[in-house]
Amino acid sequence: MKKLLTLALALTVTASAAPVTLTYWQYDFATKVSTMNELIKKFEAQNPDIKIKQETFPYDAYNQKVASSVPAGQGPDVVNLFYGWLPQYVDSGFLQPLPAKDFPTKQIESTFVPMVQTSKINGQYYALPTSVRTLAVFYNKDLFKQARIVPPRTWEDFIAAGQKIVKGAPPRFSVLGFGIQPDGQDYHVVREVLVRQFGGVPFSKDGKQVTYDSNAGVRAMTFYTDLMTKYKLGTPNFFPGNNSYRDAFIAGKVGMIIDGSFAIGSIEKGAKFNWGVVPLPVLKANGVRGNFGSYWVNGITKNAKGDKLAASVKFLKFLTSEETQRTWLDAVGEIPAGRKLSGTAALRTHPVYGPFVSALPFASSTLFVDEAGQRKAWVDAINTVILQGNSPANAVNRAAAEEQKILNGYYK
């Protein structure tokens, strides 16, 4: 009798197909959270049998939170993470590869912008983005007008423009020509952009070997540190605080900064002057373009199995769909990760998005294995030049040795 009852109960449960509940994690960024809430409503309307529960955590604690929960079998089924953390997360066995039948490699590579290929690990994709970001130069139109100059196209123009805008001298500046900040986005510019523009490559193809300890690397380091030491365009940490260069720019005290498309929102909200965006400059000598691309991806954790896995795949397809990409652009301001959308003329010629979007075809991403450690290696190397008068050649070797040590530790 009892057995029969259990059987009957089990049958009813299967028949009514109880809804699957997925947990989705991302970090706490107001517009992202509210946009995601809207998207979840839409998704649930399309898939009545799936419920999504969104949980968010402060950015500073996010990585830590994810890393300590998932290995313990807790936390999200679908998770949003920085692409740079992927190798570590895959290594931990904590993400599962995207099912090849739902996300064929060929299709991914033809529909997404090239930099997404950084999330291919051991020939498999583990995660996909909704949107991507590249770097560009934000400039203060009012300061440019006062100095009677036009926004720069080459690095040579960039230096000349900065010198016309800067006021004061080290260590007491009142206005900076360029909001130099090694630990902001600048170290990416040196490694991924300047090294290439001077004719080098930062890493070997498989990402295991540092290759910027070369002539090109030394010239890139020299060029960047000269902006402060020789041309005196500015000084790091001009404003105290977390986003020094950006805050100073928003306060109208800086002519130009190099920042990512994710900064558009806060600059739009804060700046009380006219500002514009131009692409990262090129060298007059060769005109080689370059950019650093980065992105946040959505992956499926090992916690999602069976019904949950099937639902996660559906949700991930929805998150990376063109429609979601469009919503994300309108609501958050991040540029679409799909080739088709980011290739539209309207977006490419957009005064603010344009410079970011048009950099997508030649943007490279660093394959981080330890983002914090690799950043520190560069920031310290740059600091030895600008604070202690070390030679750029020594500094590049120092960064290379330190970063190679980190890579070796991971690929051992």
């Binding site: 570590q88 931990s92 007491r172 900040q181 902001g184 105290p240 020094s244 914090a372």
Partner: protein, 278 residues
């Protein structure tokens, strides 16, 4: 019951971290291989760890005597003040209860090379502007300044209580015997303040050896200061554990720091405590 509590809350975590320090324990890896003393061997050769030890020693060697000396001087002054006594005490105590993060934020602006009032004052005095927190040579002293400033209020209150506990009759007797003010300070005040001083030295030393929040918040984007100039052992532990997920290595540093604190505290208690007859 208290013993059980102590065991669960104190001892088990301590031994867990001792055990963890023998593994190559990275949160982001499935396997956590046993490596024996490997982490400790790496530590010996780790320049950054050496730097953090040196910095921590510098903070302690300058910070503790400075805050005790200044605290005692201020307490002696305040104990004589009669008017507005409460106000003065509140003023000196205020930094101690100010949230560290807020204080660090203000400190950054005060010592800003570009906009800080300190550099403005230096300018009036015809002195060259200083880079303070942005320079590897000055960042540690500037950070220590914040810590001393914050702890001073607590020191003052401690010494005021200590001074109040000295019976007036001793001073009266000394006066009758014809002792000068300096004499009664060295012969009465200082010896009778010994328990207070020992307490200050021991707790002060421990707090400097564990220095963390000020360091992290003063150079927020480049934590540990330019080129690691303000890095402390505690900050290094945090960076290794939660920035780079090397739990085993971080545990090894924790064990070393624990050993250092234990050794120093025992030495201090042994040599500073004096017996005296009342």
């Amino acid at each position: 019951m208290p013993l059980l509590f102590f065991l669960i809350v104190r001892f088990i975590p301590t031994f867990m971290s001792l055990r963890l320090s023998l593994f190559d324990w990275n949160i982001l890896r499935e396997q956590q291989p046993f490596v024996g003393l490997e982490n400790y061997r790496t530590l010996v050769a780790d320049e950054k760890f050496g730097q953090s030890l040196r910095n921590t020693a510098l903070y302690t060697l300058f910070g503790v005597p400075l805050q005790i000396g200044l605290g005692l001087a201020l307490a002696l002054m305040l104990s004589r003040v009669v008017a507005l006594r409460g106000l003065y005490r509140a003023l000196y105590f205020a930094p101690y209860v100010t949230p560290i993060v807020a204080a660090a934020w203000v400190w950054q602006w005060v010592f800003s090379p570009q906009f800080g009032p300190v550099n403005t004052v230096l300018g009036w005095l015809q002195l060259p502007p200083q880079p303070f927190l942005t320079s590897p040579d000055q960042a540690l002293a500037t950070t220590a300044g914040l810590v001393v400033w914050q702890n001073l209020g607590f020191q003052v209150v401690l010494f005021l209580a200590g001074l109040a506990a000295i019976p007036r009759s001793y001073y009266e007797a000394a006066e009758i015997d014809g002792a000068t003010g300096t004499q009664s300070f060295w012969r009465i005040t200082l010896p009778l303040l010994n328990p207070t001083i020992v307490f200050s030295v021991v707790t002060g030393t421990i707090s400097y050896l564990q220095l963390f929040t000020q360091v992290v918040n003063l150079n927020f984007t480049d934590q540990g200061g330019p080129l690691g100039s303000t890095l402390t052992v505690a900050v290094y532990i945090y960076q290794m554990a939660f920035g780079r997920f090397q739990m085993g290595y971080a545990s090894a540093i924790t064990v070393v720091l624990f050993g250092i604190i234990l050794a120093i505290t025992l030495l201090q208690l042994r040599f500073l405590t004096r017996r005296y007859d009342t």
